[in-house]
């Protein structure tokens, strides 16, 4: 017997180890069984490993997700920035279009109600002399320009043509100290002369009698008596009036109707009055000319 056991020891043990769990299975297959003490010990002993691995996996997944989310947020942030920049550009462009639209409406209204034929012109340069406040425009002899033609914007009087080249002309602004414009007070029809006092300065009102009806805020318009400016064009508004106790004339300070100190206001459309109403040359003028090649 002992020899038999010794000879088949491995077979018996292996067989037992195979049959025993099958027997346990067959016993508990129908009704199940509770955890044994050994089961609980094993599970308790291995629980920290399970938790640690799960924790590490969660940490890795969280890190990866966090990284992925950051990547997504970063990409989204970049995209949103691009959109903001693009939209800001569009808003600015729309604002520009709106302002241009407004300006063109005013210009259109001005052209339609202008008292004389107008030739549109653009500022292409500024005078380099300190003694003369002048602009260069893109119209000249070829367009029918002559010296002493009036130059206007839709806001009012700008200056007069000083010298004319073939395709350009020099315009002396009303703000120049050599410039003068005969005016009327629109409200009272009192007469006077506005003269320039230099760049950035208000105009001065001269040759107006001390007893004339004029007050702050009055609009001064061209009188049309100089043969240059058509009558009724805004020159400026009275900023202050001084009536001396002695002498014939008063003096007043006039805020220009066109802000001549601001280049932007001049770099829009200007208009040259090619002929005054009633003159023989009025037939020569064209409101709109074909652009030169």
């Amino acid at each position: 017997m002992r020899a038999f056991l010794k000879r088949y020891r491995e077979l018996i043990i292996v067989g037992t180890l195979l049959v025993f769990p099958i027997a346990v299975w067959l016993t508990h297959a129908k009704h199940g069984r509770d955890l044994s003490a050994l089961d609980r010990v094993v599970l308790t002993a291995t629980a920290p490993i399970e938790r640690a691995v799960n924790g590490v996996v969660f940490a890795i997944i969280d890190t990866v997700e966090d990284f992925t989310n950051r990547q997504e947020v970063h990409a989204e942030n970049l995209e949103l920035r691009r959109r903001v920049i693009r939209l800001e550009g569009e808003v600015a462009a729309l604002g520009e279009v709106r302002m241009e639209n407004e300006r063109l409406r005013q210009t259109l209204g001005f052209v339609e109600s202008a008292p004389a034929p107008l030739l549109p012109a653009r500022v292409v340069g500024e005078g380099v002399s300190h003694n003369l406040i002048a602009l260069k425009i893109d119209k000249g002899l070829a367009d029918g320009l002559k010296p002493n033609m009036a130059v206007l914007s839709h806001q009012g009087v700008v200056g007069r043509v000083q010298s004319v080249a073939h395709t350009s002309a020099s315009v002396v602004l009303v703000a120049d100290e050599s410039a003068s414009v005969p005016i009327r007070v629109q409200r009272s029809r009192a007469r006077g002369t506005v003269v320039g006092r230099g760049p950035g300065e208000d105009f001065a009102l001269i040759r107006m009698q001390r007893t004339d009806d004029i007050k702050e805020g009055d609009l001064l318009v061209t009188s049309g008596t100089d043969g240059i400016f058509p009558k009724g064009l805004p020159v400026g508004r009275v900023a202050s009036v001084e009536r001396p106790h002695h002498g014939m004339f008063l003096s007043a300070r006039v805020t220009p109707a066109v802000d001549l100190s601001c280049p932007d206001s001049l770099h829009e459309e200007l208009f040259v009055v090619t002929s005054l109403p009633g003159s023989d040359e009025s037939q020569e003028a064209n409101l709109v000319q074909e652009p030169r090649p």
């Binding site: 297959a29 629980a47 399970e50 640690a52 996996v57 997944i61």
Partner: protein
Amino acid sequence: MKPFLLTAIAFVALPALSGLLPELNLTTARLDLHLPLIVFLALTGTGIEGAFGAFAIGYLVDVHSGHPMGLFLSASMFTYVLARLFAPVVEPRSRWSFAVLALLFDLAYGFFTLALAAMSPLTASGSASSVLLTAPLTALAAWLLWPLLALIERRKKRGERGALTLR
């Protein structure tokens, strides 16, 4: 020593796998991580020690299955015995051959488990497709475990080499 080491590996690896499975999202297939250990024991281990090792590993699987009723212990021992029967004619010498053997024995293990599970109303009987999907994953685990198992085998052989040792 080898069965003890492999049981220790199973002791660590099975709860680790248990902690990993929820994130792997393996709904149909499972990974029989213990099976390469049992096959390795059967093909390279001594009979009685290997049998106890396989028993211990099977028991750990059973406990970690959540339903310890002897099902996986029985299947593990069945696989061990089956592998022992093939041991005289099969020897894993490379990573790939071991992976293929693990795949074949895992199929046997899976279908044996299915057959046993069909006898119990308390255990989900599973399906043949899940067995077929599990086997390649187990082969992959065997492929990954091979360097460690080969190292254990080499150390064992070095310890057994020669009766005479220099002191």
